[in-house]
Every structure is written in structure tokens, then in C-alpha cells.
């Protein structure tokens, strides 16, 4: 009977979502497939950003980190706020250049800014390599959902396969509808995961606080942050926040959300709308996880803190908790697959064929192949799923953050050029990879700095040094100046209107 409530709840949610998606129109060309025709307003843009930004594992691995380590678990709230601040600053150049030059992907924008196919392809390849593990992890993160909602009827291995199967099947709509379908479904999924999720979190937190699991019972060390003399090192927290904030806009799926908004003003408004949601949802979840650290079973399996806590409310509350994870996971995995598929079609296949991709079928094929590949890898590595999911997520971040100097200095600094971008990305990525193998968590001799941040320092230095040592020729300087000056022109034209 209980499994009927659990799996029935999921089925009902999926039916509602699929009905909404069935009513969504498809894309006439590749540009619309990749950017949803740059047509969405602030509400949809804000929720699309949040649903892409916060993966389902926020309820699992990130909450688990707060349940096992305490206040440091809030680091994702801090880097999310900084990412939204960056979103505000990126809004104008990204939207205006995107609209004027019909840019479809992050790599497309970098190719335009640097006037270089090499920059475009390297950025696309790094984006795909770093994002792919995240998709696999996202698919596997539904294991706990289907295990808990079966109420003991389905073992972990079976639950993993069901979760992967559901996510792969759901991508039928991602393949068919592209970015428009994603933004619309993000809105529905976001309401369930983060608005309804926050209400659920606050209810569970109230139960914990009034049933002997107050913050007074929590271990005192949970309230301190790592500093000089700590095990992690004084720069560990700094590294986590810096990697998250700078790396955020290096993810192709996050970046491409900026292209789906209908104006610069919309993106800025979406940033303002997203920030309180991220703060309230994220902080509530971390507080819940910390309070629940004294709840029986949580210390042994911190990644299951969300489900263990929700179990106190019986099958219906547990089902609702599972729906929050499912909704968050679908948003993140779908966005990743669509963005990477579009990037491969636009910036790898298109470049290799020497043509600009216009047919949405290229995007559909690319997203479809990626979905099947990610599903196969997720199935093959299911047994490797463990509480080290945050560590794997951080590994991906170490790689993707190496795009940061190329992205941010390219967008905000005229002097950066293609040679600097290529050298910085390649050296940064190589340095991060080597350091990550030697120091999987942090580098003790650098005060707990992570491999990605250490490599980022090399990356920034190389970018600046090459930009000065090998300046662009006059034609390229003029082209870049016109590109930046065009932003002022838009402003003046907009005001004249």
C-alpha cells in the first residue's frame, strides 16, 4: 500500500508535468531550439536559473554535508549569492551580444569575443568534459528517492535503475522541445522543489526543534568554520566559495539560461527575484540538516538526512520530500543535457563541418545521444554511488572553473585575446587535473586551497601575462573595441526610444 502512495505520487507529478510539456510548441530552427527564442520574462527566467542552479543532490549530498560537518555546509548558499551578483553584471553584455549576433551557447559567445574558433572549441570541450560527470551523478541521485518511496519493496540497485530510467525517459521532451520546454518545465519543477520544498523544510525543522533535536543538542564544533590550525586548512572554505561562485557561470547549462531571457532588464530582475529564494531555501535546508544531525541514523548516513527526517511525517510527507528531489534533479539534468547537446552540435559539429547549424535536428540528435550515453554510464557505475558525491561534484568544479578567466576577463576586459584565452584554459585545466590527482580534497601546503583555485591562480597569471606579451593586432583591437562600444550604443538607442 505504501509503495502505491510513493510511486503513485511520482507518477501523478510526472503526468502533470508531461501534460504541460505536451502543450508546449517545438522549435522552428536551431537558434530557437538552443535559446527558446530569447522570449521569457523575469519569473520564468528566475525559476529556470534556480532549477538549473540547484541540483537534486542539494537535498542529498549538500544537506548531508551540513548534517555531518555543520556550518561549512552553508557554503553553497554563499556562492549562490555571489553567482547571482555576477548574473546581474553579466546581463547586459551577454544578452546584447547574444541577440545581435544570434549566439546560442557559451562557447559561441567566447568564439565571438575572441574572434577565434580555437577558443570556441576548447571552451566547448572543457564544458562537456566537466559537465558529463554531473549528469551521471544527477541520474544516480534519484536512487534514494525510489528506494525510500518503495518503503522497502525495492532494493538500492533496483531503485537506481528505476531512477535512471525515469530521467532518460523524461528527456524525450528535452530532445523534442529544447530550451523552451526546459524553461517551462523548470517553472513547474522549481515551484515543487524550492517553494513547496521550503515549506516542507520549515515544517520538518519545527518538528525537530520541538522534539528534542534543537540546536542546543548539536555538537558545538558544528557552528565553527575552518580557520588557521583546522584540519581542512584556513583557505579551504574560501576555495569552496570562490570555486562555486566563479565556476557557476562557466557551466554551459547555467550560462545558456541568460540567452533565454527577453531583455537585459529581465535578467537583472530575475537575479533580484532568485536571490531571496536561494537564501531562504538554502539556509532552511542547512539548518534542518544541522538540527537533524542528532536524529537517529543521520550520523551513520548523513546523505539520507532529508529522507530520514521526512520519514517522521509518514508516507505522504516522505513522498512529498521525494518529489522535491525528483523535481530539482529533472531541472538540472535536463538543462545540462540540452546545453551540452546544443554546444556539441553548434560548436563542435558545426565548426567541424564549417557551417553554421540551422537545423534543430542536429541539436535533437546530439541531446539524444548524450542522454543515452549518460544513462549507460550511470547504469554501469551505479555501484560506485556513495556518500562521496560532494567530492565528485567538487572535482567537476575544479575543471570547469578553469574557464573563469576566459569568460569574465573576456566579457569585462578589452585587452584579453585569443592566445591568452587558449593558453590560460589549457594550462589551467591541465594544472587542475594534475593537482586534483595528487590532492583530491585540498592542498595542505597552500593552506587548504583546492586544486581548482590553485590552478585558477596559474590560469589568471597566464591570461594576463599573455594578453600583455602578445597583444592583438590593430584590426582585432578595433573589432573588440566596436564590440564593447556597441553596448553603449544599445543603451543610448534604448533611451532615445
Amino acid at each position: 500500500m505504501e509503495i502505491l502512495i510513493g510511486y503513485g505520487g511520482i507518477a501523478a507529478f510526472l503526468i502533470v508535468l508531461f501534460v504541460v510539456l505536451q502543450r508546449t510548441k517545438g522549435s522552428a530552427d536551431f537558434s530557437e531550439y538552443a535559446t527558446a527564442g530569447r522570449s521569457f520574462g523575469p519569473m520564468f527566467s528566475a525559476m529556470a536559473f534556480v532549477n538549473t542552479w540547484l541540483p537534486g543532490t542539494i537535498f542529498i549530498a549538500f544537506a548531508g554535508y551540513a548534517a555531518s560537518a555543520g556550518a561549512i555546509g552553508f557554503y553553497f548558499v554563499a556562492y549562490s549569492i555571489l553567482a547571482v551578483v555576477l548574473m546581474f553584471l553579466l546581463a547586459k553584455p551577454v544578452h546584447e551580444w547574444g541577440r545581435r549576433f544570434d549566439l546560442r551557447t557559451q562557447a559561441d559567445l567566447l568564439g565571438l569575443r575572441y574572434g577565434s574558433t580555437a577558443v570556441r572549441v576548447i571552451a566547448a570541450v572543457i564544458g562537456v568534459i566537466a559537465s558529463f560527470p554531473w549528469i551521471v551523478l544527477g541520474m544516480q541521485s534519484l536512487t534514494l528517492v525510489f528506494e525510500y518511496l518503495s518503503f522497502g519493496a525495492v532494493p538500492a540497485a533496483g531503485a537506481a535503475l528505476i531512477g535512471i530510467g525515469v530521467l532518460v525517459a523524461r528527456q524525450w521532451w528535452t530532445v523534442r522541445l529544447g530550451a523552451r520546454g526546459l524553461v517551462i518545465s523548470d517553472f513547474v519543477q522549481g515551484i515543487v522543489a524550492y517553494l513547496f520544498g521550503t515549506v516542507l523544510i520549515l515544517g520538518l525543522l519545527t518538528w525537530l526543534l520541538t522534539n528534542g533535536h534543537g540546536f542546543g543538542e548539536v555538537e558545538p564544533s558544528f557552528f565553527t568554520l575552518p580557520g588557521p590550525g583546522s584540519v581542512d586548512g584556513p583557505l579551504y572554505l574560501f576555495s569552496l566559495i570562490a570555486t562555486g561562485a566563479l565556476g557557476g557561470w562557466c557551466w554551459p547549462d547555467i550560462f545558456v539560461r541568460l540567452f533565454a531571457s527577453n531583455s537585459t532588464h529581465t535578467i537583472k530582475r530575475a537575479a533580484v527575484m532568485a536571490s531571496p529564494l536561494l537564501l531562504i531555501f538554502g539556509s532552511s535546508l542547512c539548518l534542518l540538516a544541522m538540527a537533524a544531525s542528532t536524529y537517529p541514523g543521520v550520523a551513520d548516513a548523513p546523505d539520507e538526512v532529508w529522507f530520514l527526517t521526512a520519514s517522521v511525517g509518514g508516507p505522504i510527507v516522505l513522498t512529498l520530500a521525494g518529489l522535491c528531489v525528483l523535481a530539482a534533479t529533472m531541472g538540472n539534468v535536463g538543462a545540462n543535457l540540452q546545453a551540452l547537446g546544443a554546444q556539441i552540435a553548434n560548436d563542435v559539429v558545426g565548426v567541424a563541418r564549417g557551417t553554421r547549424v540551422e537545423d534543430p535536428r542536429w541539436g535533437k540528435i546530439s541531446v539524444g545521444v548524450l542522454t543515452l550515453l549518460a544513462g549507460a554510464v550511470a547504469v554501469a557505475t551505479t555501484s560506485a554511488l556513495s556518500s562521496g558525491m560532494v567530492a565528485l561534484a567538487q572535482v567537476s568544479y575544479q575543471g570547469i572553473v578553469q574557464l573563469a578567466p576566459t569568460v569574465f576577463l573576456g566579457i569585462f576586459w578589452r585587452r584579453g585575446n585569443a592566445a591568452a584565452a587558449c593558453a590560460a584554459m589549457v594550462l589551467g585545466f591541465a594544472t587542475a587535473s594534475v593537482l586534483q590527482v595528487i590532492y583530491p580534497i585540498a592542498i595542505p601546503v597552500l593552506g587548504g586551497m583546492t586544486s581548482g583555485v590553485a590552478a585558477l591562480a596559474v590560469n589568471f597569471i597566464v591570461y594576463i601575462a599573455v594578453s600583455y606579451a602578445m597583444p592583438s593586432n590593430e584590426d582585432e583591437k578595433r573589432r573588440v573595441d566596436e564590440l564593447f562600444d556597441s553596448l553603449q550604443t544599445y543603451e543610448e538607442v534604448g533611451q532615445a526610444r
Partner: protein, 69 residues
């Protein structure tokens, strides 16, 4: 010169936006600040989070009044 007049508040507003963005990065990415909070780790994140949200609201207000976009 007449064209310079509206540029003054615009430049001032742009400076405010950038200053608020830098403030947020400074308070969240300045390690000594997290070292001195002692048992107040949770409060550090809650307060800096509220500062971030309020900063964004001010940035948006200032930006809109400057007629950006």
C-alpha cells in the same frame, strides 16, 4: 557640456552597482572574516546572505533609475 549633465548621475549609479558587487565578494571571500566568527558560523552565512539579497535589490533600483538597459 550639456550632454555631460545626465552622464554624472549615471556614472555615479554605475559606481554604486560595482561597489556593492565588490562588497559582496569582499565579505564572502575574505578568509580572515570567516576565521574570527568563532561559534558564529551559521550567523556569518545568514547575515552575509541577507546583505547579498539587499545589495541586489539596491543594485537593481539604482540601475533602473539610471535608465540602464
Amino acid at each position: 557640456m550639456p550632454a555631460e549633465a545626465p552622464r554624472q548621475p549615471k556614472r555615479r549609479n554605475a559606481t554604486i552597482v560595482i561597489a556593492l558587487a565588490i562588497l559582496n565578494f569582499a565579505i564572502l571571500l575574505f578568509p580572515p572574516l570567516t576565521w574570527v566568527v568563532g561559534q558564529g558560523g551559521v550567523w556569518f552565512f545568514l547575515i552575509t546572505g541577507v546583505i547579498g539579497v539587499l545589495s541586489l535589490a539596491v543594485m537593481y533600483r539604482v540601475d533602473s533609475s539610471a535608465g540602464e538597459d
